[in-house]
């Protein structure tokens, strides 16, 4: 049975750095995929994640619901990705390396799978950042609209609109590719 977030936060505030380390290990893998696809590069994602954890650590006392540390951290990460994405712009996007995908892909049309993913990544990069963010949170990270509203500060109907726009645009961009 893992230690609850609020207990870890409390210990970290008392100076137990290792307790914060547990939180890092708990959430870094959970949130890294979003950062990678939001920013379009693993290096940028690592930077954004490190930045988010550091900011969370520095302002740990301002986390109002330590039992929901994860949600609070996620919000910081979403913010970091927005700032980071805004600064670098689109010109430096790189593709995501995924040795795991290539491994499993060998079993099922390997070259097609890899190419399909690359095309998706290109299309993702061409979305408006807010739409990309909403699409990733909804369909890849599978959050509810209420959860997304809490993370992003936007209203549920605005988020639904962004997701719809993102889907429409992805459909448009990936239209030539027959995949279902």
């Amino acid at each position: 049975m893992e230690t609850a977030d609020d207990l870890l936060v409390q210990r970290a505030l008392e100076g137990d750095t290792a307790a914060f380390g547990v939180l890092v290990r708990r959430y870094r893998e959970r949130y890294q995929r979003f950062a990678v696809y939001m920013l379009g590069s693993e290096e940028d994602a690592e930077e954004a994640l490190q930045d988010a954890f550091l900011r969370a650590y520095r302002s740990l006392a301002r986390c109002e619901e330590p039992a929901r540390f994860g949600a609070w951290l996620y919000r910081i990460l979403v913010n970091r990705c927005r700032t980071h994405g805004g600064r670098r712009g689109r010109r430096e996007r790189t593709f995501v390396r995924d040795p795991a995908a290539l491994l499993t892909a060998r079993e099922e049309h390997p070259a097609e799978q890899a190419a399909w993913r690359e095309e998706i990544e290109v299309a993702l990069a061409r979305l408006d950042p807010l739409q990309r963010e909403a699409f990733l949170l909804k369909h890849v990270e599978e959050l509810s609209y209420e959860e997304m509203a809490e993370l992003t500060g936007a209203g549920v109907s605005a988020l639904k609109m962004r997701v719809k726009r993102a889907c429409d645009r992805l459909r448009e961009l990936l239209r030539e590719v027959e995949r279902v």
């Binding site: 550091l54 650590y57 399909w116 990733l136």
Partner: protein, 240 residues
């Protein structure tokens, strides 16, 4: 609602019955795209260690937040003082030896402080860009016509660096022109530079080759030849 973008406005119009609502039927195409993206990604396995190394270098998080309430008009002076203390608290972020210089951009922290130069600054002394008083006696040489120069202190926390230079429009972007000096511990580097009022673009160059913007300062807009810059804004002094 704080978001102001076309989608939010469109959603508002739907809410007001001025546009068609959209359906939410599941979609094979979207499912296929999402499936492809839902494969786990792999990042550097040492990332957690690097994060914890940076955390370990931090001072323990404050047990009480210093400023929970927004400043009302009566608090303006003390809020500025508190802000000044916050800006001055050193952020010691260790630069990871693993990534060599690659991690520097994420790890370096900067404090930019504008120090007042004369009497009468009252409660506003020390805040970063607040208009400051006329120069103290002995510094008349700093006043160039009506553009009273202000001394700005640039600080970089870079314990692994051998040398740190400041480059910007104020020294013609010459890498050798303005060297920062290390503190006794060698962890922090600083230099005082008199600057004319206005916006100044700048960056640090560590060990002669790695260009760094300041993560805590606003990013300078516009073309940057591939390495981003930061901006410091200097306001002219108030004449007494």
């Amino acid at each position: 609602m704080f978001e102001d973008d076309p989608d939010s406005r469109e959603a508002a119009r739907i809410g007001q019955g001025q546009a068609e609502p959209m359906s939410e039927a599941p979609d094979a195409f979207v499912a296929s795209v999402a499936r492809a993206l839902r494969r786990p990604v792999r990042l550097d396995p040492t990332l957690d260690d690097r994060i914890m190394a940076a955390v370990a270098a931090e001072p323990a998080p404050a047990s009480r937040p210093f400023d929970a309430l927004p400043a009302g008009p009566a608090d303006r002076g003390s809020a500025a003082r508190r802000a000044w203390r916050w800006l001055r608290r050193p952020r010691t972020v260790r630069i990871s030896p693993l990534g060599g210089l690659v991690g520097l951009a994420a790890a370096a922290a900067l404090l930019v402080m504008v120090r007042d130069q004369g009497p009468g600054t009252g409660d506003q002394g020390g805040s970063r860009e607040i208009a400051t008083a006329a120069p103290a006696p002995g510094t008349a040489g700093l006043t160039t016509g009506s553009d009273t120069m202000q001394v700005v202190t640039f600080v970089l926390v870079a314990p692994e660096a051998q040398r740190v230079a400041l480059v910007g429009d104020f020294n013609d972007w010459q890498v050798g022109a303005t060297q920062l000096r290390p503190t006794q511990s060698g962890r922090m580097w600083s230099v005082d530079v008199p600057l004319t009022p206005g916006r100044h673009r700048y960056a640090f160059v560590v060990d002669g080759e790695k260009w760094l913007p300041d993560p805590a300062a606003p990013r300078a807009p516009g073309p940057d030849f591939g390495t981003p810059n930061s901006v410091v804004t200097v306001t002219p002094g108030r004449r007494s």
